[in-house]
C-alpha cells in the first residue's frame, strides 16, 4: 500500500526481486496483449522450436483483448481478462524468459512455482474499469495473429498503468493473504 511505485518495462531482475505481493505500482513502457488462442499458438511454437513473434525475455504479457478503437481514440476500452485460463501455457513461457504478466484472478500452483523458480512477477489489474485503463494506453501496434481479431498480439505503450503485485518471486500470493485477513470464520 501507500504511494504507488513507477516501474518500467522490460523488467530487470533487480526490479523483479524488489517487488513484493501487495505493492502498488504504475507500469510504464511496452507490454504485449495475448490471451487464450494467442497463448496456445505461442506454446505450440515453442514446442516446435519455431521463432516467436515476440521476444519473451523482454516481454510483459497483458491478458487482454481491447474493444475496437473508436475514431479519435488511441484504443477502445481495455482491461484484464481472467488469468487462470492461461495457466496451462504459462510455465513454458516463463521457462523461456517471460518476466511479467498482467491479469486478474488466481494462478495455478504450477504458475506460482514457475514465477518463484525463474524470477518473474504476476501483476493484478482491476477488472471492469476498462474505459479508465484505456486512458493509460498511448500507442498500439499490431504484432501478430491478426486473424484472431481482438485476441491478436498487440504492442501497447502504457503510461502509469495502475496494478498491484499479486504473486512475487518469493512465492507470496496477495489474493490469498488479503482475503484471509478479511474473512470472518463461522
Amino acid at each position: 500500500m501507500g504511494i504507488p511505485r513507477k516501474i518500467h518495462t522490460p523488467l530487470t531482475n533487480e526490479v523483479i526481486v524488489s517487488l513484493h505481493a501487495g505493492d502498488m505500482v504504475l507500469l510504464n513502457g511496452e507490454v504485449y496483449t495475448a490471451r487464450d488462442v494467442a497463448h496456445r499458438r505461442l506454446y505450440e511454437a515453442l514446442i516446435k522450436g519455431e521463432t516467436l513473434p515476440i521476444d519473451l525475455s523482454k516481454a510483459v504479457i497483458f491478458y487482454a483483448a481491447p474493444a475496437p478503437t473508436p475514431p479519435g481514440k488511441v484504443i477502445g476500452s481495455i482491461g484484464p481478462t481472467t488469468s487462470y485460463r492461461m495457466d496451462f501455457f504459462t510455465p513454458k513461457l516463463i521457462e523461456n524468459g517471460l518476466k511479467g504478466m498482467i491479469g486478474k484472478g488466481n494462478r495455478s500452483e504450477e504458475v506460482v512455482q514457475a514465477i518463484k523458480k525463474h524470477g518473474a512477477v504476476y501483476f493484478g489489474a482491476i477488472g471492469g474499469i476498462a474505459a479508465l485503463t484505456a486512458q493509460c494506453v498511448k500507442k498500439v501496434e499490431l504484432i501478430a495473429y491478426e486473424d484472431l481479431g481482438p485476441e491478436a498480439i498487440r504492442k501497447l505503450t502504457i503510461v502509469d498503468f495502475p496494478a498491484i503485485v499479486i504473486n512475487d518471486a518469493e512465492g507470496n500470493d496477495l489474493y490469498d493473504q488479503a482475503q484471509k485477513k478479511w474473512r470472518i470464520n463461522h
Partner: protein, 287 residues
C-alpha cells in the same frame, strides 16, 4: 363476463432491430443507476483502504464510459436477449430472431463493442457477436418487451448448476452457492451480484438464475418471504468470505444476492448460481 378482446397490433421488424441495437449500445456504455448507487453504498461501508480505492475507480470508470461513450468493460459480452412477446402482437416485415440478430450485429459494429463470440472448437471469431442468446416468452397483451443483457465471460465462467438431492434442503442450496462464490474468488470481478435459481429442471434453474440478475440491485424477493430471508443469509455469508472489491480483500464481496424459485420434480432439487460482475448491464424497452 366475457374476457376483453385485445386488439391485434402490428410490430415491424425494423423497429425491433433498431431497439435491440440501441439497447445494447446503451447497456454497454451507461451503467444502471441502481448499480452505481450500490457501488457508492459499498464505498461508504467498505473498511479496507484498498477496497475503497478499487470501488472509487469503478465509479470513476462508469463516469468516463458514459461521458466518452465507451464500453464500461472491454468484455461487451455475449448478447443475451429476453423477449416477452404479447400474444396479440403481430410481427411483420421479417422474422423475430433475424430482427434481433441484426440489431446485435449493428450494435456491436457501430457501437465499437468487442466481438466476443467464437466457434467452440476452432475458436474462430464469428466477427459480429452473433448468435445472440435469445429467450422468448409469450405473455398477455399486444406489445413486445425487449431486455438486452450483455454478459461477460469471466463471471459466466464462474457460474454453475447442480442437481441436489431433496434431502439437501435450503441448507444444501446455501452451501452450494457460497462454495461457488468462494471458489470464484477474484476471478469474476467482485463485488459481484449473485443470481440463484432454485427448482424447475436443469435448464429452468439456470434461466431463473439469469433472470434473477435482472432485478434492480437492492430489491429483495417480493413474492416469497422464505427467499427474501435466504437472500439476506447468503448476502452475509458471501460478504464474510473477505474476497473484497477486485478480490484484494475487504468487507464487500457482493452487492446483492437475488434468489428465484419454482416447483420441481419430487426426485430433484435443482440449483443454479449465475455470477454477475460489478459491471451489471441490462437495459429494456417495451415497444
Amino acid at each position: 363476463m366475457e374476457k376483453k378482446t385485445k386488439k391485434v397490433r402490428q410490430i415491424d421488424c425494423k423497429l425491433i432491430t433498431a431497439t435491440v441495437k440501441k439497447l445494447f449500445i446503451k447497456a454497454n456504455t451507461i451503467l444502471g443507476d441502481d448499480v452505481v448507487q450500490a457501488l457508492r453504498s459499498a464505498l461508504a461501508s467498505e473498511e479496507s483502504a484498498t477496497g475503497k480505492q478499487v470501488l472509487e475507480k469503478m465509479i470513476e470508470n462508469a463516469n468516463i464510459a458514459c461521458r466518452e461513450k465507451m464500453p464500461i468493460c472491454q468484455d461487451t459480452g455475449l448478447a443475451v436477449v429476453f423477449i416477452e412477446v404479447g400474444q396479440d402482437a403481430h410481427i411483420v416485415g421479417g422474422d423475430l430472431r433475424t430482427a434481433i440478430e441484426e440489431g446485435v450485429r449493428l450494435a456491436y459494429a457501430e457501437g465499437f463493442l468487442r466481438k466476443s463470440v467464437c466457434d467452440p472448437f476452432t475458436r474462430k471469431n464469428t466477427e459480429d457477436n452473433t448468435p445472440a442468446i435469445i429467450h422468448i416468452d409469450i405473455v398477455e397483451g399486444n406489445r413486445l418487451k425487449i431486455i438486452a443483457m450483455p454478459k461477460g465471460g469471466g463471471s459466466e465462467n464462474m457460474s454453475a448448476a447442480q442437481m441436489l438431492v431433496p434431502a439437501a434442503g435450503s441448507e444444501g442450496i446455501k452451501k452450494f452457492v457460497v462454495e461457488k462464490v468462494a471458489h470464484a474468488g477474484a476471478n469474476p470481478c467482485p463485488p459481484v451480484i449473485i443470481g440463484v435459481g432454485i427448482g424447475g429442471s436443469l435448464e429452468e434453474a439456470c434461466i431463473l438464475a439469469k433472470k434473477a440478475l435482472l432485478r434492480p440491485v437492492g430489491e429483495k424477493n417480493k413474492r416469497d418471504e422464505r427467499l427474501a430471508q435466504m437472500e439476506k443469509e447468503l448476502y452475509k455469508s458471501i460478504n464474510d468470505l473477505g474476497i473484497g472489491p477486485g478480490g484484494l480483500g475487504g468487507r464487500i464481496s457482493a452487492l446483492a444476492v437475488n434468489v428465484e424459485m419454482m416447483p420441481c420434480h419430487i426426485a430433484s432439487l435443482p440449483v443454479a448460481v449465475n455470477i454477475q460482475c460489478h459491471v451489471a448491464r441490462h437495459k429494456e424497452l417495451t415497444i
